[in-house]
Subunit: 476 residues, 3 copies
């Protein structure tokens, strides 16, 4: 097995191949969508009604989350700040350009072309969030080459699952609790299962934080926290649906945050706060309200969901993650199973409850917009009646609430299954030689892949004793 | 007196009680406003005219200010970065959920329900800014339990004052110079007066900054600086009023910034710049233009206001803060009296001048929109005439400029009085036992409430000599 | 020659003079534009159609780039973080208030007044970007007094060039590749040529980064990266033009980022990544797509432009910058010639190609909007015909594609010439005595102009040995 970790040949070679492929496919298949095409501008189009003004503000907010929020959050290791932030940058950037193609082929392809607008970028950012969440499971023990391979494979796995679920099962999932969080989580667990490193179960000397890395990571948390309402509402129906998605996400995050502080103090022997809880557990509420974010669940339900998600996430970090690592070979580095898996399951369940409880009394006729598959099918006289109340209402499938709930269940099960299989396959590919996989001793260390500034070395040197203590702080 | 500072029981217990109360009240009283209610969606509503598109961009900007701007700015102490940033996160999060209820009861309550939309969140963020400003007075010498109690009490004091002033005195205060900055300042001074710690007047060994904490704090300043125009304009009338509020705030901040650099160099013995000035004094202009931000004061007036506010703020830090601490038992840790009190007073005075100078020649008929209480009352024939020029103009109180000015004066006086009384009462509550108040020696130290990463300890150790020098740099 | 570097008298005196001048000119000449003037509000104006809602979101994004993006990026030196971030703050703030006047006189002056709206601020921010790019050439070896003088002189040089090029040559330059990047680059090179310090060619002991300064700088890069699409599209025509500018900028940045990673690993002897490449070279694509960002160049062309710009930029850093410093006395501290000059030239060339290839088949009749000077002149019957298809189309100059290309060439040449001459003159002024120019030994050192916190000193002391090694890491 090739054990060199120099990126000198492999990274440029891989990038070169990828760019040739991407350039070819972009040249052959990618063109502008109607809102970005000069030819479509005529005396009937009002420039200010261009879709860019509806999509771009949400796109920009999610960009901040992806590049700065995730980037800082993943820089929480003391000796792995460059890698956390910079590999996030590389992986996210590649993923978006790749997802434009792959998702584009499934969702925006007609007349022989993928039609590109800011809305594709928003979708690609969601694919990007998926890959970055999965990345959290293997943070510190993968090379950039491995991460690019993960993105290369995970994007199509995700795009196919997304397409199949949306096209055939037709579910409600505004904040992506099922398609984004559950998929990303179980894919990541699949990958890390294959990449299992027994020695890491004993704790790694460099698996520690520093005062500055902890602060940097909290900044990442805050950026994610602040813009999460934009994430959960970016793809909802415009108007009151998007309005509710913003309100619920904010409330859910809010209740989950104060719960995280309470639990952090309660379960600390000396009654102190733990930064890892504040960096991660506070965010659980954003995932938990996801699947029902745009529904009329009432503000108090969003509040309670935040508390539930936070509690599950907290105990997951405390008891489930060590259990998975010790007994099931699942080393979930950032605890994505807690922050995205458990919360995603709660969220999906809540979504099903909200679907079962939905009725015209609460929603009025616009129920058939939000739950579009419950709308009467084409030809049904009720459809015409409803279209008088809600102009432009599209014909649906005439599903009952119970039927829709069953489809949601099917979507959860098939997403988890597809993600796990995809993750296992991808993990297997990432274990191939020539991937520059870091040796056990060099995990969580920037030194392996970066030219470091002089002080980085000296810091390490003068603190050698710390290594021996094998501190396991913030190993979540 | 109980002197333990463990959060193990008290923080979770307090949070539990608060959550039970909040869940009960949310369940009983909080519903959606018309713009967030699916039932209101019908063939007459255009989704893109939903209020969320007018309010959310400003909400998001202010969120960045509250969570990232304030968070980084308050992390300027060398050993208190976790606390500054994280207690800000906790306090802000709790405040917003609490303010939704309390302000909601006073401002958005009808048909037996508080009606929730993003506009409530914007209002709640303003309440949040109030509590965080007051927090600045006691930074480093309070526990998170004390801070939550401060928020619990300050929110209703603020909401009642705000409601009474807006309902009975009916004032103009676009940027909240009176209701936000003056209230927050005098409330905070009231609290810190009661929490007086004589030993801190001699300077505290840990009351120092570090190279990194200073940079972090400047980043906070820059986030506040960049988004301050959104803050001052978030609640103005839409259109040209909001446009002017943005322009004036930008210009005021701008002139105050270069003034702060000049004064910082001028009053430094070696002609060097002091980071504390750049972190704080540069922002004075944003407060100073607040009360008149939406009026036709002319760009040059905004420029001059910025210089005036900055100068007052700078000399306040230099001469007034030490005086208040030494002779009046008012230990104003972050100098909120300089950045919010003095500037708030200048701003309020400028607002009165602008009101006295306002006339139809400058404003046209829209004068009666901005100064809505000067509009003719219902039944006055002039009202009908004006309504032809400005459709939808609401009947007012027929006040003269001088009358409006007197009401502004009354608002300033009663806000300061209410804030001071509220602050004193709240300070008294915060001194109760079981509040985990930090011992004098452990002020400005994260160690008390946080599990620290290994390097935090070593840093402190190797620099022990610094402590003895009792440096008072950046003690502002 | 006066060699004191105390700011005590000169900075306040200079600021005082500037403020008197600015206040006088604002008082005499600056008033509100129609969208910010209360008098213009009447029964025909819809508040939500105020220009502030079109301009402010882009303004706010660019503010983040200018103050936080540039601020963090320029803080990459280990001992020069305060200066990088804070001098950026001072220079940017002064530049905007000064540019409002100078650009306002050339672009927004009528009826004897400069008319102020958020659109002026957007323009002023672009002027600000120009000055900050030029600042990059002399980072670390200039005092704040010198930087203010640079801004005082560069703003009029820029405003005149911009005005002359736009009025007489009438070019297409959406992202400002010619007027912003090329101007800023050659102006900065002119300045640094005059400020040549032979001793710095041997490398300076303090010209190093630290672990934290590198992370801070990457954060700056990420903020610039995320909001660059707003920069390139802020001043395009609304609608599909702005939409395309966003798409192309994003794609260009994206391809340039992964190219930068590949090249960084390829040309590093040990196959590791270099932070300086990630901080700078990744951004090249944003400049390279600038001049043609709003045109129908196709997504794949944006992708290829990103790769080309990145490659030129990378080799520029590697080979051209040392050559310029050693043989041509041009010490380009941040390598602006690579990131803005070479990429600007590629971008301008690509713009010319896009102009030559533009035809009605691709663009439809809206070609005459984007390439407004190719529209038929007043009186031409074709104009009336086109106005039926595109209402509000303005008469143009009837230029052919080739003619327009020649004008673009003329604009490139004259911009470079004007910038170089302006830079040389400005450099000469900055060399005058009393400018507090730092002595060679104190370059790249915050100590000279800042009161430092205690730990900054100790850090330097304990690492003295590092100095002797004369490391030249990240000296770009």
């Amino acid at each position: 097995m090739n054990t060199s970790t120099s990126l000198r040949v492999r990274l440029p070679a891989l990038v070169l191949v990828l760019q040739v492929v991407i350039i070819t496919l972009y040249a052959l298949f990618v063109t502008y969508d109607d809102n970005a095409d000069a030819k479509m501008q005529n005396n009937e189009t009002n420039p200010m009604e261009n879709s860019v003004y509806r999509d771009y503000p949400f796109f920009a907010d999610v960009q901040v989350m992806i590049f700065i929020g995730f980037g800082c959050l993943l820089a929480f290791f003391r000796f792995y700040g460059f890698s956390g932030m910079v590999f996030n940058f590389l992986t996210a950037t590649f993923t978006i350009q790749w997802a434009i193609l792959v998702q584009g082929f499934f969702q925006f392809y007609y007349d022989g072309k993928i039609h590109l607008g800011v809305i594709n970028l928003v979708n690609a950012e969601f694919a990007c969030a998926v890959i970055l969440i999965s990345f959290g499971a293997v943070l510190g023990k993968t090379s950039p080459v491995q991460l690019l391979f993960m993105a290369i494979l995970e994007v199509p796995f995700f795009a196919v699952t997304e397409w199949a679920v949306l096209k055939y099962l037709r579910i409600n999932d505004a904040g992506g609790s099922i398609l984004i969080h559950l998929f990303a989580c179980y894919f990541g667990l699949g990958v890390t299962f294959v990449l299992y490193r027994p020695v890491l179960n004993k704790g790694h000397a460099k698996e520690i934080t520093s005062y500055h890395s902890d602060i940097l990571s909290v900044m990442g948390t805050l950026f994610l926290w602040v813009f999460w309402p934009s994430f959960n509402s970016a793809l909802t129906i415009k108007g009151d649906d998007q309005h509710r998605a913003i309100l619920h996400t904010f409330i859910g995050l809010s209740s989950s945050t104060i719960t995280a502080f309470a639990l952090s103090a309660l379960f600390n022997k000396r009654g102190k706060l733990t930064m890892a809880d504040i960096q991660n557990v506070t965010l659980a509420g954003g995932v938990t309200v996801g699947a029902s974010a745009d529904m009329m669940i009432s503000p108090v339900a969003a509040y309670v969901l935040g508390i539930m998600g936070c509690t599950a996430c907290f105990f997951g970090y405390r008891y489930l993650s060590p259990f998975l690592a010790q007994t099931m070979r699942i080393q979930d580095q950032c605890g994505i199973h807690n922050l995205h898996g458990l919360t995603g399951l709660i969220s999906s369940t809540a979504g099903i409850c909200a679907i079962l409880l939905a009725n015209e009394e609460t929603y009025g006729p616009s129920m058939y917009q939000i739950f579009s598959h419950r709308a009467p099918p084409l030809g049904d006289p009720k459809l015409l009646e409803l279209q008088k109340l809600i102009p432009g209402l599209k014909p649906g499938l005439g599903r009952s609430a119970e039927e829709q709930a069953m489809y949601q269940l099917a979507a959860i099960a098939s997403t988890i299954a597809a993600a796990t299989i995809g993750g296992l396959i991808t993990g297997w590919v990432m274990r191939l030689p020539f991937m520059a996989s870091p040796p056990d001793g060099d995990c969580f260390d920037d030194e392996l892949f970066f030219d470091l500034p002089p002080d980085a070395g000296t810091t390490v040197l003068s603190d050698t004793k710390i290594f021996d203590e094998k501190l396991k702080m913030n190993s979540v």
